[in-house]
């Protein structure tokens, strides 16, 4: 894969603030047209990494390139950025504010006005167009800021915890918008520590912990790598076979079912046959994939 086909390339980047190393020897590649999840616990270095990508701060060592070119202030116009720290001018009207942010990305006033109307309608806040920001609820402000990040039709959209503080209806609304943007060929970097959302929308992920990368790849690969060969099981009768079977390494009992962790090289089909032969009535037998949440917890606690 050549550089031109990579939207963002972070190459052996280190960033320190005084004594504190925020990002340590980080390399990652974001491919075009995909949603890239930058995951990790609080303070892992996600925001610092993003700030270096959007050219707010420069790495101490290593390099970052965007669209195959070295990061520069010209390239900033092709990035849309929704930072985790939300902020809008409190006494400006929504439309004024959005036009200002669009102009900072070199969008002409006339173009901006059309786009503002379209986006406000899409996010269902058109009636707030002429209201001052301080009159808006927190959720609405967040939508306004989301619009400010996409108004200039950026090729790369960086969203830092875009859904925090939103109600489920609005989370769904914004999720749809993000997926729609992806369909139109935009590349999206999505930073979060909410694994359930990342699991739903990310194509690729990179897990940071304590300033370092601990895991990366497509969600599929990652999950496969963490496949633990476990079965969610609900049976009636035939309990004897569970205690005697040498295919089982561990059993966890939940409320009305159990999770059976099979021995590393055991074949689940053989285990199922064993169960049936033992006379048990199987009402649920499901191969369990590890959730991103489990992987996250496992990798992060490993480090401690």
């Amino acid at each position: 894969m050549t550089n031109n086909e990579i939207t963002v390339k972070v190459d052996h980047v280190t960033k320190t603030f005084g004594e504190f190393t925020a990002v340590k020897d980080l390399s990652l590649e974001v491919r075009p047209g995909r949603i890239f999840g930058l995951l990790g616990p609080n303070g892992a270095g996600k925001s610092t990494t993003i700030r270096m990508i959007v050219n707010i701060t420069a790495p101490d060592t290593g390099s970052i390139s965007l669209f195959g070119r070295k990061i520069s202030s010209q390239l900033q116009d092709r990035i849309g950025y929704l930072p985790e720290e939300r902020g809008l001018y409190k006494s400006m009207k929504v439309s004024e504010q959005l036009r200002f942010f669009a102009q900072l990305k070199n969008v002409s006033g006339k173009d901006a006005d059309q786009r503002i109307d379209r986006w406000l309608a899409q996010l269902k806040i058109s009636e707030w167009k002429l209201k001052k920001t301080r009159e808006l609820s927190k959720g609405m402000q967040q939508k306004v800021q989301f619009i400010s990040a996409v108004l200039h039709d950026p090729d790369l959209l960086i969203l830092d915890e875009p859904f925090s503080g939103l109600d489920p209806v609005n989370v769904d609304l914004l999720t749809d918008v993000v997926l729609e943007l992806k369909r139109t060929g935009k590349t999206i970097i999505f930073s979060t520590h909410q694994m359930n959302i990342a699991e739903k929308i990310c194509d690729d992920i990179c897990l940071l912990n304590r300033s370092q990368k601990v895991l990366e790849g497509s969600i599929r690969e990652v999950k496969k790598r963490f496949g633990r060969n476990s079965v969610a099981l609900r049976i009636e009768g035939g309990n004897g076979s569970l205690t005697t079977s040498d295919l089982i390494s561990k059993i966890e009992h939940h409320s009305d079912e159990m999770e059976v962790l099979l021995a590393p090289d055991a074949d689940p089909q053989v285990f199922l046959k064993q169960l049936i032969n033992s006379g048990a009535a199987v009402t649920k037998f499901e191969m369990v994939e590890p959730s991103l949440h489990d992987i996250f917890i496992e990798k992060v606690s490993e480090a401690r």
Partner: protein, 440 residues
């Protein structure tokens, strides 16, 4: 460039539209007018209860004159002093109505008896004071004044001055000096200064100095008023966390420059409004005076002085505003910034007082160097220009150094701002600041 304009425009429109701007624009000239009118008002309030003074005039010649000076009513003064229009002036009126003079009768009683009687009346609050003029007061020049409230220095002094004048006049009359000679002798000196420049002699009634004072004062006022606004503008995005979005779109220097220019345009707008209002009033005032036959003349000031005046005013304004921007980039709250801004005010005041040494010796080495230092240049160089205009290259150099310094300070502030924004909470140390300027 578009981005810079967008920032300038936002800063400008947001502020000019704010209620605060409209209020201060209207209120400040009003407050200034109040300063002018208030003393007259206060005096007229005082005149409601005139001070009752009894005079025991041993000579029998002084009382009439004294009353002429201190009291207009009930009977007009023996002779009309000074300007006839002064009688209609409310302040002048208040001055005269604040005393009621009464001559103590000495018929049939000794001086000691009269004094004892006056003492009693003073105690009974029938009178406020009494004045003893012994028969030889014209020779000895010694008089005694008794009053209840000795802390009222103003009226005591006024009585003293009036007595001085009355006695002086009486002495002149006794020396057979006629009224005409007396008026001629009392005429004050018409003091006219003339400025010698290389081009020759020209008349200068201090118009240049008025310009320098106006410049210094204007700079002082606008820095005081708008320095805080610059500070607030720089901190605004830090407090609202907008800085991060802005820095993902514009260079810090563009942002900082845009803010400075935007706020400065607001300041200039306000000054222009005040200037026009003041100009209109002044014109009106001159017309009124002219219609009453009082001659007024505008000080003659070469046009070039006005050009320099504007340039150096702008220089001073920008140099000091960038200092505020610098402080804004370091601190996290406006309150903290206000405390740190105090040294700027001190610097400003010092630069104002340098007026004195520079005007005394405008061509000295000290004056030269002061007028090259950006923080002192605005006042110092203006003083030099109006006193002994230095060679053009010095003026140009001073302007170049000054504006470059302002640009450099803006750049430094923007570097500090960008790094500082990422580290919320703690104020950086000086070495840290230097590191921030170098990195980022």
């Amino acid at each position: 460039m578009n981005k810079l304009l967008a920032i300038v425009k936002r800063e400008y429109t947001q502020r000019v539209r704010a209620r605060m701007f409209i209020v201060t624009t209207v209120l400040l000239p009003f407050a200034m007018a109040m300063f002018g009118i208030a003393p007259a008002l206060v005096l007229s309030i005082e005149s409601g209860t005139p001070m009752r003074v009894v005079v025991l005039d041993g000579t029998g010649k002084i009382f009439g004159r004294l009353r002429g000076y201190l009291q207009a009513e009930p009977e007009p003064a023996t002779q009309d002093e000074g300007n006839p229009t002064a009688r209609n002036n409310p302040i002048e009126k208040a001055r005269q109505e604040s005393f009621v003079l009464e001559q103590a009768s000495t018929v049939g009683s000794s001086a000691t008896q009269v004094q004892a009687d006056l003492e009693r009346r003073l105690g009974a609050k029938e009178i406020d004071a009494y004045l003893l003029l012994p028969p030889d007061v014209l020779q000895s020049g010694r008089a005694q004044f008794f009053r209840r409230n000795t802390s009222d220095l103003i009226s005591t002094r006024r009585i003293q001055e009036a007595l001085d004048s009355a006695i002086r006049e009486q002495r002149l009359i006794d020396a057979h000096v006629d009224q005409q000679t007396m008026t001629n002798l009392a005429r004050s000196v018409d003091f006219e200064t003339t400025r010698i420049s290389g081009a020759g002699t020209e008349r200068d009634s201090g118009g240049g100095f008025i310009l320098v004072f106006a410049g210094g004062f204007l700079m002082y006022i606008s820095v005081l008023l708008y320095g805080q606004v610059v500070l607030g503008a720089v901190i605004e995005e830090k407090e609202t966390r907008i800085a991060e979005v802005l820095f993902s779109s514009v260079r810090p220097f563009t942002l900082m420059m845009g803010k400075l220019l935007g706020v400065s345009l607001v300041a200039l707008t306000q000054l222009a409004i005040w200037g026009l209002a003041f100009g209109a009033f002044a014109l009106y005032g001159v017309n009124v005076l002219a219609s009453k036959g009082i001659p007024t003349h505008m000080p003659a000031v070469p046009l070039m002085f006005f050009v320099y005046f504007v340039l150096f005013f702008l220089l001073g304004y920008f140099v000091y505003s960038t200092l505020y921007a610098l402080i804004g980039s370091v601190v996290t709250t406006a309150q903290e910034g206000g405390q740190l801004a105090f040294p700027i005010i001190i610097l400003l005041v010092i630069s104002f007082y340098l007026f004195l040494p520079v005007s005394r010796n405008p061509d000295s080495t000290l004056s030269f160097w002061l007028s090259m230092i950006p923080f002192f240049a605005p006042v110092s160089m203006l003083v030099r220009i109006v006193t002994q205009t230095p060679p053009f290259w010095q003026i140009a150099l001073s302007l170049v150094i000054g504006f470059s310094t302002a640009a450099l300070l803006t750049w430094v502030a923007s570097r500090i701002y960008r790094v500082g924004m990422l580290m919320y909470g703690k104020r950086p140390s000086i070495p840290e600041l230097f590191r921030w300027v170098r990195q980022s």
